[in-house]
């Protein structure tokens, strides 16, 4: 692949991939490693992909696989899947609460969601894929994606409430320390 074509591919997708990686890996450095590794795999193997239109899905799938490869999946995943469907009602206060929070706090809450639900939830909110594409990307049935979104949203609302509560207790400025992003801001 020509260097400029590779650069175009990077420019088109690295930001969304980083957001996905940050929600999975939780630490900025690990998220950067995941994104770099994904494009490295592309540079060594992905160029053989015949349908370049599928490059985006290929990149997200590869990033997710690279993430899973670095982790040991355990029985907990199954036990989480067995939990009943999450609370479906959104309180009006939840929306207002979310509106008042900043991106750092929201990412922190998202990272509190169980890993099984976090991946489809982040892909859903990135708005780059339909739920059918998310199912294909995560290699699970469509029904599983929907149930994971449902449970994930319930966990997310609980995590958002927890972060908002901690924020209120943290002080007048209402900012909860978030080391990775805080460090980045300090460097600006």
């Amino acid at each position: 692949m020509a260097e400029d074509t590779f650069a175009q591919l990077v420019d088109a997708h690295y930001t969304a991939l980083y957001r996905f990686a940050l929600s999975l890996a939780r630490r900025e450095a690990d998220a950067c490693d995941l994104v770099q590794q994904t494009f490295y795999v592309w540079a060594t193997k992905g160029h053989a992909l015949r349908e370049q239109a599928k490059a985006k899905t290929w990149l997200f799938t590869t990033l997710y696989r690279e993430f899973l490869r670095g982790r040991r999946r355990d029985q907990r995943v199954q036990s989480i899947e067995d939990l009943p469907i999450g609370e479906q009602d959104v309180a009006a206060e939840s929306v207002d609460q979310l509106r008042r929070m900043d991106a750092q706090q929201v990412v922190m809450a998202l990272q509190e969601v169980d890993e099984t639900f976090r991946a489809p939830l982040t892909l859903f909110y990135l708005e780059d894929f339909s739920y059918l594409e998310i199912a294909s990307l995560l290699e699970v049935p469509v029904g599983t994606v929907m149930s994971r979104l449902s449970r994930g949203k319930a966990q997310l609302r609980a995590a958002l409430a927890k972060v908002a509560s901690a924020s209120a207790e943290a002080g007048k400025d209402g900012v909860v320390p978030f080391p990775n992003l805080k460090k980045k801001e300090a460097g600006r």
Binding site: M1, E3, F6, A7, V10, D11, Y14, T15, Y18, R19, L22, S23, E28, A29, C32, D33, V35, Q36, F39, Y40, W42, A43, T44, K45, H47, A48, I85, Q88, D89, V90, A92, S94, V95, L98, R99, M101, D102, A103, V106, V107, L110, T122, F124, Y125, L126, E127, S130, Y131, L132, E133, V145, M146, S147, L149, S150, K153, L156, L181, K184, G187
Partner: protein
């Protein structure tokens, strides 16, 4: 379809996306239009989702990530070529024979004019050295004026070396081979951190443009900055994400 089932489906619905093409989703949406309670629930759900999406879109990657990805892509270019040939070979043995013959002809024809390595190759070598392949290092204390210059807290490395390449060689710095080109390495301490400095002749390397903009590569807790001036190519390597390296430039 009862409201519970409709909610289950509608939680995965985003307006304007591809999701509405699903027939079950269409039914659930129709039900939300008919049932005011379900309609109110859907409006809140979508408001929540829009807020979440907006917050997530506000997250930006760290500066330097793009450059690091591009540098990594450039480094892997030789591997890509080799792999592509093997893939073709697995499919067709005749193709393999032809490819081997072609490679032999090309290699014999162009061997003496082999393409010069770039800054990315030099940075990769530095990372490889840092990751454990490191031989016995030469320290700044062993190389006189050059070493003092590296250790001096006031030195800005981007200003260029105060000594020539020949003087660096004469000082006895550790020598490395990068794509057949000679490169020297010196380790030094500054601001409590340990750094590795590599220098080669610019004419030995393929540097597009003037090369003066440092190229950052961060990988596995290590980082390198590579740049060039009119006479030389340089790589500064150390631990961390590269911010400490930038401070020395």
């Amino acid at each position: 379809m009862n409201n519970h089932d409709a909610k289950f489906l509608l939680q995965a619905y985003r307006p304007g996306g591809d999701d509405s093409a699903d027939s079950q989703m269409t039914l659930a949406l129709e039900q939300a239009r008919r049932d005011p309670d379900l309609g109110l629930w859907l409006a809140r759900e979508q408001s929540f989702d829009q807020q979440m999406s907006a917050k997530l879109q506000a997250v930006t990657p760290p500066s330097g990530l793009r450059d690091a990805i591009l540098a990594g892509g450039r480094m892997s270019a030789p591997a890509r070529t080799t792999q592509a040939w093997w893939r073709g070979a697995q499919a067709q043995w005749m193709g393999l024979a032809a490819a081997v013959a072609l490679v032999a002809v090309i290699t014999l024809s162009f061997w003496p004019k082999a393409k010069a390595p770039g800054l990315a190759s030099l940075a990769q070598t530095a990372l490889h050295e840092m990751q454990g392949a490191h031989g016995a290092p030469t320290t700044a204390e062993e190389v006189g004026v050059f070493g003092k210059w590296l250790k001096n807290p006031a030195t800005r490395l981007a200003a260029g070396m105060p000594v020539s390449f020949e003087q660096v060689r004469a000082a006895g710095c550790r020598s490395l081979n990068v794509g057949g080109r000679e490169v020297f390495e010196v380790c030094f301490l500054r601001n409590g951190g340990e750094y590795h400095f590599y220098v080669g002749k610019r004419q030995d390397f393929n540097i597009p443009g003037n090369g003066s903009s440092p190229m950052l590569v961060a990988q596995g807790g290590l980082a390198t900055l590579a740049w060039a001036d009119e006479q030389h190519v340089y790589v500064l390597a150390g631990n961390g994400d590269g911010s400490a390296l930038k401070a020395l430039l």
